[in-house]
């Protein structure tokens, strides 16, 4: 799922100082699951933003809502519950959701309340970890299902480097060394031969950096 963190309250307040009626809009998918941007979080945020201490004059008037997926144009335009005279929206969606909203409701200003951080998974309750960075060329089949591009601090293709100690990454002793994990996973699978071949330099083109990537599927719509 896409994981996001709530921005500092002051930063959010600074975006809405000039507005009078603000809709705080949650997103019902990834950020609901990671407990940062669902309807419940939208309500809580609206409550905190309503406190007069944040403003010289009066706080804006807040309403709260949620859309199943703010990143889907059809779902966004089908949302008919924006109260009249709403002059700004605070979106609790990821960056994709905020932008889809901004396109759909132009010229209504849509402001982000989350910092979108990563594509991750929840391995333990309350903890989400980055697992994928969308490099566009998945190599998990050779690395025991552990992504070195995302989980090695140097994105090495021929790790482990000379740094890991006690199985932990030199960059942060709290982070397991991805290549050490790969080594032991492949050892258990009896597939250590996969590490012997020198992996040639990656083609980074599928990873982006040449304008936004798009995917098209014919026969839809």
């Amino acid at each position: 799922m896409i994981v996001g963190d709530l921005k500092p309250l002051d930063e959010i307040v600074s975006t809405i100082l000039d507005y009078k009626r603000v809709l705080v809009l949650g997103c019902g998918s990834c950020v609901t699951v990671c407990l940062s941007g669902g309807e419940r979080e939208a309500r809580q945020l609206a409550r905190e933003l309503s406190h007069p201490r944040h403003y010289k004059d009066h706080p804006p008037e807040f309403t709260v809502g949620s859309i199943l997926r703010q990143c889907e144009h059809d779902l966004v335009i089908a949302y008919q519950e924006i109260p009249p005279e709403t002059d700004a929206v605070l979106s609790l969606a990821c960056g994709a959701g905020v932008q889809t909203m901004a396109d759909a409701f132009e010229p209504l200003p849509i402001f982000p309340t989350l910092n979108t951080t990563f594509l991750g998974a929840s391995l333990k309750p309350g903890i989400w970890s980055e697992m994928c960075n969308g490099c566009g060329d998945c190599r998990l089949s050779c690395t025991g299902g552990i992504c070195p591009v995302t989980r090695c601090a140097k994105s090495l293709f021929n790790g482990p480097c000379g740094g890991p100690q006690n199985g932990q990454c030199e960059v942060d002793p709290e982070i397991p060394c991805a290549w050490t994990l790969i080594f032991y996973r492949l050892k258990k699978q009896n597939h250590l031969h996969l590490l012997e071949e020198v992996k040639t330099p990656p083609d980074w083109r599928p990873a982006g950096g040449r304008g936004p990537r798009t995917r098209m599927r014919t026969g839809i719509g």
Binding site: F157, C161, Q165, F183, P201
Partner: protein, 308 residues
Amino acid sequence: MKSGSNLEKILKAGHFAFTGELGPPRGTSAEEVRKKAAHLKGKVDAVNITDNQTAVVRMASWAACIILIQEGLEPNYQMVCRDRNRLAMQADILGAYAHGIRNMLCLSGDHCKFGDHPHAKGVFDIDSMQLIQMVKKMRDEGKFLSGSELEEPPKIFIGAAANPFADPFEWRVHRLAKKINAGVDFIQSQCIYNMEKFQEWIKQSNEMGLTEKVYILAGVTPMKSVGMAKYMKNNVPGMDVPDEIINRLKGVDKKKQGDEGIKIACEQIEQFKEMKGVSGVHLMAIEWEHKVPEITERAKVLPRPQVD
């Protein structure tokens, strides 16, 4: 001869190589490089010039290498993957060769986190293994990484690092094999303090026939003090400093700790001279270049052999 560098000739002739290290200044002083180089002149076969070591900005390695050549020493140009992409790397290799640089050390590089610009984005377009491959391709095939032809290929003696002390230990010898397959000619090991573990790694390397395919220079860094030993043990990634080293330094008067550090280093060097699979020593006298004449004297590695 792959490069015709002095280091290559020394190793090929079967001499026990002895190389040094020089950290470029955090400023523009060519004089500082010259001063450090003067301590090393005639004492070592080649000098590894570090590349923004520990991710701290310094004078470019290639620039300090050129100063060394002017001073009559042979540099070993270190290049890390952290700070440049494949275009910049290949351009620097061509320029370095054009200025007479004949040895390179190919490293991934310490993470930006450890340095003076922790906010920087690490490049890591390619990794150290792929850097070795790239230099070999440029040298032996006369081609850039993209496959296009290059004129007058850079004849570089290709070096890389090996750390027998990092995890997982059982993979370390295979990683060496991988670097050999990638095309490395010589290896500089991480600073060795745990002799037992190093010997085990060399034994494995010998058994796999790897030491016949690559020259291994054992890394030696004399400890200046107990403080340094503790710092290396606890703060430097991939370092294995056994307590016996710390205790031995503690056992002498504070003023004599540096001397004891050199004594330990010299004892190690004597062992390496006799160790099957070890072709030489790489001495990293960190910010202690002025001690190199004394260390090389005490280690009985002088005079350095002359080869043609």
